[in-house]
Symmetry: C2
Subunit: 328 residues, 2 copies
DNA sequence: CTGAAAGCGCTTACAG
DNA sequence: CTGAAAGCGCTTACAG
């Protein structure tokens, strides 16, 4: 029942635990340990099916080669892909990931952060749902390397990777105008204080030519379909002919609603932030503002490892990547 | 820089580490520790921003309240939802999750399992990509509580939760016939040895009335679109008028291909295993065989906790849940 | 070339 | 009501 430890190997071979540890960590040659002894250790370790206890190791060396990732919801395609990008790169670099979802629950996010710190993660990549940047103070106090992604706090002195949401939204609205739309509305999503969403709304407001006609619908993230349903009714009542969706969940909900109500929505031009495959499969196809998801993930890892490996000398960086318009 | 430990609290209060540990673990009353002392400890712990080191704790008590979850790919909606169900239930019961993806890579799966064992997880929920059940021997040797989900090994003496894939596939084919389809084909997906997929293919073959007309296309999981493209050409060449998709990725690829080639596919009746929201948003809508994802997750946790809490007395259970036909 | 010992931070019998 | 001590499994100076 009991797991095999260094001691078991050492005793069965008549050597010390220290020697076994050294050999198994590849420091045998460096320390000039007899080749044959090394081989005997390795053979025995395999024979006994030895797996080192990471808790003991982590306790001793203070590193765990583990990176925490907290996102709102991996089942949202954007975060799913982001996690995939992060995971594959981190994995290649010898790190493991602990991925967790907050589902926009601030209390859960707090608890998750504490949990991860307790687990002695080497660093954290965070797409936060916090409305208050002070919630992140605990992380700084604990000196945990941190990179914010997607959702950032401008006035916080922390590494961050995001996209130019304002410009992206402006591009979207300009595209609608180019396609003949006269009065575009914006379907935003709660929580309103999320930086990426707030910026997209700002971009919309910037780009609308007739400000008096600007119209914003707030869709609560936890009751999207119903709110979109009502918003669509409003849209039909007014003389609106274009919709800018602040994220992919809203666009999906529009499609769902239209499908349920047999509303063709062919007369409304729709564009959405985030490019997801559905947009290619529906009729009419939906244009989008695509984010460079892989680059976001790679950059986040790069910044995080920079902090981990160079704790004092690291300079805070705020990366803002460009979006691209996918016309359909 | 240094993290706060029990010792720091103890010293600053002039009490022992043991007392602090007891109080912070809620055993103060039980052990009859002075209420005021308890309060002082808690206040000081908060003041110093103390977080217990889980590695030290895990090392000492041998439990970690952490469950490992390994799936092929969380960005596949089925697994994404499954993880969500598992996570929410586990979280409510005081467990944390470490979720990892194999992307059908057997080597990665082996490494992940070893990693998780090293982390002293209390148990593992696994949707395995292994073709050989012997790969799981290491887990049994290490006595790690294990529950297989979705993909199971019939002849392995391990807890498992799956659905009746054969009957589900049969229902799908019967539905196609009912809708007037004469010659349904099956788009299966690699790896072929995955139990759930193999069973769905079996169900297809069972239900096809004219066995001489049965036609199976093998779609490799890592090159779906191209293979589906070619398969669709074959379908058009023959007199096939119905397609049974072994999973949702295949159905999505059919939609994508049809969209790209401007093929309306209105004359082909399609049904897919797994019910995903896209099926409601496209034209024509796609019928499906839905799996009870939440129940799978809850049952998996239930079985796992059964093993964890009653290591010796636990009886191996193989749960097979029912699917349901979603007609569209 | 190898071993003995200390210590990471915690919990838990044991003692008083 | 509280403390001293052992020990979980590992790594790393230090000594020889």
């Amino acid at each position: 029942m009991k797991k095999v430890s260094l001691k078991d190997i050492a005793e069965s071979l008549g050597v010390s635990k220290a020697l076994v540890s050294l050999v198994l960590n590849g420091k045998g040659d460096e320390r000039g340990i007899n080749k044959q002894t090394q081989e005997r250790v390795r053979v025995k370790a395999k024979e006994l099916n030895y797996v080192p206890n990471q808790y003991a190791r982590g306790l001793r060396v203070g590193r765990t080669n583990t990176i925490g990732v907290i996102v709102p919801d991996v089942s949202n395609v954007f975060y799913g892909k982001l996690c995939k990008a992060i995971e594959q790169d981190a994995y290649a670099k010898g790190y493991n990931l602990i991925i967790s979802n907050t589902y926009e629950d601030v209390q859960k996010e707090k608890k998750l952060i504490t949990d991860l710190i307790n687990r002695n993660i080497d660093g954290l990549i965070l797409a936060s749902s916090f409305d208050d940047k002070n919630e992140l103070k605990g992380l700084k106090d604990n000196n945990v390397p941190l990179v914010l992604v997607d959702r950032v706090f401008d006035d916080l002195d922390v590494d961050a990777v995001s996209v130019s949401n304002i410009e992206g939204a402006e591009k979207a609205i300009e595209f609608l105008y180019k396609k003949g739309v006269k009065n575009p509305v914006c379907f935003s999503i709660s929580p309103v204080y999320i930086s990426s969403i707030a910026e997209r709304v700002k971009g919309y407001l910037n780009a609308v030519t007739d400000k008096s006609k600007a119209k914003l619908f707030q869709i609560p993230h936890d009751n999207i379909d119903r709110a979109v349903h009502n918003a669509l009714i409003e849209v039909r009542k007014g003389d609106y002919d274009g919709i800018f969706c602040a994220n992919n969940n809203i666009a999906k909900s529009i499609l769902k609603n239209a499908s349920n109500t047999q509303d063709s929505i062919n007369d409304i031009k729709i564009i959405s932030f985030d490019d997801i495959e559905i947009f290619d499969l529906v009729n009419p196809k939906i244009s989008s503002i695509a984010q460079p998801i892989n680059e976001i993930g790679l950059k986040a890892i790069e910044l995080l490892l920079g902090q981990i490996k160079n704790k004092e000398g690291h300079l805070v960086q705020k990366q803002v990547l460009e979006t691209s318009l996918i016309e359909r």
